[in-house]
């Protein structure tokens, strides 16, 4: 991703940068700043932690503490397709466990990890909120409902075959 490359050179992304200089000193801005950083880079890179610490006056260790407290924040970039497996109650009683296992087997990764080819990231989420479609998996913005292990495998095959993927 070009954004990551720019960042490696030390360039501050516009939206995140603007927020940093305009609101960095205001109380209560730490979480919105982290959200802006993640929006810009897809994750929170070490340099952003340093920049936020400087702008807010909050020690980097404390910033790190806040990052790791909340499930939303990531310290590593995501794969090309993010697979969110719903682990809500309705999905659980409809067999979400098997869906998770199938995904682990198919991709060879555990929840929170990204496949070696950088194609898929597997995340478990508390509830996607479409309980009547249980069990549900969301890939990117698209929800796949009433899944069976076999159904999931064929969905994954379609993604692997997509032309133009940068694996």
């Amino acid at each position: 991703m070009s954004t990551n490359a720019e960042h490696a050179k030390g360039a501050v992304m516009p939206a995140f940068g603007r927020m940093l200089w305009r609101h960095g000193g205001e109380p209560g801005m730490l979480i919105p700043l982290l959200q802006a950083a993640q929006d810009s880079y897809g994750y929170i890179p070490p340099l952003a932690i340093e920049q936020i610490a400087m702008a807010t006056g909050i020690p980097a260790s404390e910033v790190y503490g806040v990052i790791t407290f909340y499930r939303q924040f990531r310290l590593r970039p995501l794969g090309q397709y993010v697979i969110r497996v719903c682990k809500g109650t309705a999905c659980h009683v409809q067999g979400a466990e098997m869906i998770g296992r199938t995904l682990e087997e198919e991709l060879g990764i555990r929840q929170g990890e990204t496949s070696e080819d950088g194609l898929f990231t597997y995340l478990e989420v508390a509830c996607l909120g479409c309980c009547s479609l249980a069990p549900v998996v969301m890939i990117g913005e698209q929800a796949y409902g009433r899944l069976t292990p076999q159904g999931l495998r064929s969905v994954l095959r379609r993604f692997r075959r997509k032309p133009g993927r940068s694996a």
Binding site: Q72, T89, A90, E105, G129, C130, S132, Q150
Partner: protein, 582 residues
């Protein structure tokens, strides 16, 4: 005049609502003058998504269910152009909504959520104008107190009392916070309200602001709800544009502004002091109360925190009167309650029922019983803080005290139905896994106690339960309940304690007999292959790491039980559903 309303809540979108909307857009041409294409929020009948409603002359309404892009063509040709409804696809809206009473959901699925005009046409912002121009703050509070409204976030604290306390606090600055950090897995009531009728929440907040003397409102909303956030932002902007939020509302001199704060994903932030810590930019850890937030909340100022559903009730109470609200419900529980009905239910969705409705009336009457047709076994209420109420207590009415007496809690409104293929020990393990990973770690009993409980439950599900595990679970549960600081810890043992109370025999079956009656815990079931279904495709043979499956191509395969390690892999690869758990 015809209006086509496509249900585009998160559930409608997940089922393909956008493609349906797009197809309508493509097919509607110049000859369809007088047809307007609109979007609306959740109608509540999630099991029939995608839902499309056609409203003629603002009155005659036809609701279509399970609409796909392919079906749009016929709806356009027959109904919109030909004037004949496509009867096969029509959903009996009135029948399905029988037994419900819509106060909170009064506008959901009725209006375009982003249209402030439609909200106002249905009486929106009248309550606010009436409050700030014709009532004193004290009168507003008394009306809310008189209505008997209690907090819909779960604990059921009387809203009027909370407002009185916040009013009485002396300070130069006060806050109103809307808790929209709906974290219970299996609950989506607040999201649907925010997506389908955001103005009702904003209006409720502004009324609360007037009542307690606060000029600033904050909606703390889950970042996982992008659509709700978008609709809220639009609603705040259009209300501000029209002077319904902002300075000097209705010439009264009262000013109220609202801003959004996105949560970052921590269940504990539903607890009010943790929520405040999170808004202040810290780790969301609860603190000791008192002082309560109504006295010293956000940045130390008096803060009134209510839930989405609570706020959505407020404008209705002001326009219809406390008496009308009170006339519905039971002794100490007035009005209605919204539930997200899900799990093994035939007609799942969003339902709103008068307090006092029984669980059976919801499960059988509204939900149509289990989807499998198997016996209804239990209903889980209150999510990770709640418990499992057995079918034998189905006559229990929806009422704060009555639900609490079963060991569950009213909670925010998750209602997950289970049939006899659900293992209650596994359900307890599922919730403990959730609370254990969401414990903020501040209190020892919550942090370590839930971990120990989870270990025991995992052991039981893996077939390694010990005879006194049940006793240890009960003891630990009581200690965690008594010694934790906040609601998360105090209620975390509930799913275990209720299942121990009502489904003790299932724990015994796991521990003593080495059996999982519902055949969910894989370590306790015996795998086999159904000879009638096996096609002999051989997919399961390489999948089995234990080498327990054998069979010739195109012939029925066999599992050698003595070698089977019960990993369940064969179950996930079989395409003909031939692997059996016995």
């Amino acid at each position: 005049m015809q209006a086509v309303m496509v249900g585009l809540g998160s559930c409608g979108i997940a089922t393909g609502g956008l493609a349906v909307q797009q197809r309508f857009r493509e097919l509607l041409g110049p000859e369809d003058e007088g047809v307007t294409l609109k979007e609306t929020g959740c109608i509540g009948l999630c099991h029939r998504e995608v839902l499309v409603e056609i409203v003629e002359d603002g009155r005659r309404r036809t609701l279509y269910g399970e609409v796909t892009p392919d079906r749009v063509e016929r709806i356009v040709a027959d109904h919109l152009r030909g004037g004949r409804a496509v009867e096969d696809w029509v959903v009996d809206r009135e029948g399905l909504l029988a037994g419900q009473k819509r106060i909170v959901l009064r506008n959901c699925g009725e209006i375009a959520p982003s249209s402030i005009e439609e909200y106002r046409a249905r009486g929106g912002y009248l309550a606010l104008s009436q409050a700030v121009t014709a009532m004193t703050p004290g009168e507003v509070i008394e009306t809310v107190a008189d209505s008997g409204l209690r907090g819909r976030g779960g604990a059921g604290f009387p809203t009027g009392t909370k407002w009185r306390l916040a009013r009485a606090a002396q300070a130069g600055r006060k806050f109103v916070i809307c808790n929209a950090d709906e974290g219970d897995p299996g609950a989506f009531m607040d999201r649907s309200v925010l997506e389908g009728d955001p103005h009702s929440v904003l209006e409720g907040m502004a009324i609360a602001g007037y009542a307690i003397g606060a000029g600033e409102g904050i909606v703390y909303v889950r970042a996982e709800y992008p659509l709700a956030i978008r609709r809220l932002r639009e609603a705040v902007a259009s209300a501000r544009e029209r002077g319904l939020l902002g300075p000097d509302l209705f010439g009264s001199g009262f000013s109220f502004s609202v801003r959004l704060k996105e949560g970052a994903g921590a269940f504990v932030c539903g607890e009010e002091t943790a929520l405040i810590a999170s808004i202040e930019g810290r780790r969301g850890m609860p603190r000791v109360r008192p002082p309560f937030p109504t006295e010293a909340g956000l940045w130390g100022f008096p803060t009134c925190i209510n839930n989405v559903e609570t706020f959505a009730n407020v404008p209705w109470i002001l326009t219809h009167g406390a008496g009308a609200f009170r006339s519905c419900g039971t002794g100490n529980s007035k009005g209605t309650k919204v539930f997200a009905l899900a799990g093994k239910i035939r007609r799942g969705g969003l339902v709103e029922v008068p307090m006092g409705t029984t669980i059976d009336e919801i499960v059988y009457g509204i939900g149509g019983g289990t989807v499998s047709g198997r016996p209804f076994k239990a209903v889980q209420m209150g999510g990770p803080s709640g418990g499992c109420i057995p079918a034998s207590l189905g006559g229990t009415p929806i009422d704060y005290e009555q639900i609490t007496s079963t060991g569950a809690i009213m909670g925010s409104g998750g209602m997950v139905v289970m049939d006899d293929s659900t293992c209650m020990v596994d359900v307890a393990r599922f919730f403990l896994h959730f609370t254990q990973s969401e414990s903020c770690g501040k209190c020892t009993f919550c942090r370590i106690g839930t971990k120990r409980m989870l270990e025991i439950l995992e052991r039981i599900c893996a077939g390694d339960g010990k005879p006194d595990d049940v006793k240890t679970l009960a003891e630990l549960g009581e200690q965690i309940r008594a010694s934790s600081l906040c609601g998360l810890g105090q209620t975390a043992p509930n799913p275990v304690l209720t299942t121990l109370r009502y489904f003790h025999d299932e724990y015994e079956a796991h521990i003593r007999d080495g059996k999982c009656p519902a055949k969910v815990c894989l370590a306790l079931v015996e795998f086999g292959i159904d000879p009638d279904k096996c096609t002999g495709c051989g997919l399961c043979v390489p999948a089995c790491d234990a080498g327990a499956i054998s069979g010739r191509s195109k012939e029925v395969h066999r599992i050698d039980v003595s070698r089977c390690v019960r990993c369940g892999k064969c179950l996930t690869v079989c395409r003909s559903d031939a692997v059996r758990k016995g």
